[in-house]
């Protein structure tokens, strides 16, 4: 047996060792204390990460004009330092409209830079600031790619409820993540049509089976069921200039995520939040890889720790 004395000397040794070894104390891919936040599908994650969605396939509900869009999207997040990362994503779109030949092509290139504002382990809270850029002239116009660039500052947050009184046993697995942000197009109009500034807000309400098993009560769940996280995501966009304020659009996406040691798989229904968004139903599936777990000593580390 290997002895692990849990005393002051060991803690001092641990602190010293943390400074000189390669322990990944940045808690990549969504940890705040004992809470694990999975990567969500509709809303942005409140943590920097080394992760990749490869791919995310969406069959969107028909829009108000009857057109329907299918997307195949790839996302990559890469930590530069333990607290910062960059993101890049793009998607291939296929657009079908009644009475018109369907068209396909790349959507706009999207990039981002993010800073982990705080990670509060005891309170299972996360905060992140980001600036996303949707680049103009980087996709095919016939599938909706813009001819202008849009800047989108965001604040993303996460909160687990594991710190509420332990007597509230089955409320403790709840967690919520959210996004608050704006879109600022760099061009006011396109062919006479206004490009509004938008207010974006979205939330993911999660109920973590892994948290039940690790930290609340062993109810006998075993893999794969103990790795499931049912959730409901909602996201809305409201124009705040150059367009009527009542043109809010949004989506509601109930679904489930299975989180394994190296990757997660998620599936959600897509329900338009109002008639302005569309009608009917759609669906999305995502295969999401944790690069920091797959390659912990190479590309899964922050770039600042490569040398």
């Amino acid at each position: 047996m290997l002895s692990v004395p849990y005393n002051g000397r060991a803690q001092l040794a641990l602190a010293a060792a943390l400074m000189v070894t390669q322990i990944d104390n940045a808690l990549a891919h969504g940890f705040a204390g004992e809470r694990f936040f999975p990567a969500t599908i509709l809303t942005d994650d409140p943590f920097v990460a080394d992760e990749m969605s490869l791919p995310q396939v969406s069959l969107n509900p028909p829009g108000p004009d009857g057109s329907q869009q299918t997307d195949i999207q790839i996302d990559l997040s890469k930590r530069i330092t333990p607290d910062t990362d960059i993101t890049i994503s793009n998607e291939w779109r296929r657009l079908r409209a009644p009475g018109v030949t369907s068209v396909g092509g790349l959507g706009p290139l999207q990039t981002g830079a993010q800073y982990q504002l705080f990670v509060d382990g005891p309170h299972q809270a996360l905060g992140l600031l980001g600036l996303n850029v949707t680049w103009g002239h980087t996709g095919r116009a016939t599938v909706g790619a813009p001819d202008f660039t849009t800047l989108s500052p965001t604040f993303d947050f996460g909160k687990g409820f594991g710190d509420i009184p332990r007597s509230l046993t089955f409320l403790r697995p709840f967690a919520v993540t959210g996004n608050l942000g704006f879109d600022f197009p760099t061009q006011a109009t396109t062919a006479g049509v206004p490009n509004p500034n938008n207010f974006n807000y979205g939330f993911a309400f999660e109920y973590s089976f892994p948290y039940i098993e690790c930290c609340v009560k062993d109810i006998g769940l075993r893999p794969p069921f103990s790795q499931l996280i049912p959730l409901v995501e909602v996201a809305f966009t409201t124009p705040i200039s150059r367009a009527p304020a009542n043109q809010t659009t949004g989506k509601i996406q109930p679904g489930i995520i299975w989180a394994g040691p190296y990757f997660q798989i998620g599936a959600e229904a897509i329900i338009p939040a109002n008639r302005g968004t569309g009608h009917g139903y759609g669906g999305v599936v995502q295969f999401h890889v944790y690069l920091d777990d797959l390659f912990p000593r190479s590309i899964g580390k922050p770039i600042s720790e490569w040398w």
């Binding site: 002895s3 060792a17 322990i23 104390n25 004992e34 912990p296």
Partner: protein
């Protein structure tokens, strides 16, 4: 679409075939079980994780409702079972006890957690 599915399955297969001694260590199960009630004071608390642990950076302690430590301070990882962490307990009276653990898996990722168990009167 079939090509995408085939690629997905291939990627999942490659990832699934990677050694199981990597990635974050999650608590698999414990004795006494998480949130359980037991009829008498157990001699030890044992925790089994999903990944092998780094002994130098892994620990567990048990406290009573007053926040006083009631474990023997002899947390151990078995050489024959490197994913198992255990600590001895003093003889305990009925009450609720908090188990706090922190571990580092062999790929250097840290995780932590807490849970309670109860000794019935």
């Amino acid at each position: 679409m079939r090509g995408i599915l085939a690629a997905l399955i291939a990627v999942a297969g490659v990832i699934g075939a990677t050694p199981s001694s990597r990635a974050h260590a999650f608590l698999d199960h414990a004795s006494p079980a998480v949130g359980s009630s037991v009829p008498a004071s157990p001699p030890a608390v044992a925790l089994w994780f999903t990944q092998d642990l780094e002994p130098a950076f892994s620990g567990v302690m048990v406290t009573n409702e007053a926040g006083q430590r009631v474990d023997l301070g002899n947390a151990q990882i078995s050489q024959g079972s490197p994913a198992e962490l255990q600590v001895g307990l003093k003889p305990l009276p009925p009450g609720t006890y908090l188990v706090s653990w922190h571990v580092v898996s062999v790929d250097t990722h840290p995780t932590e957690g807490t849970f309670t168990f109860e000794i019935k009167p």
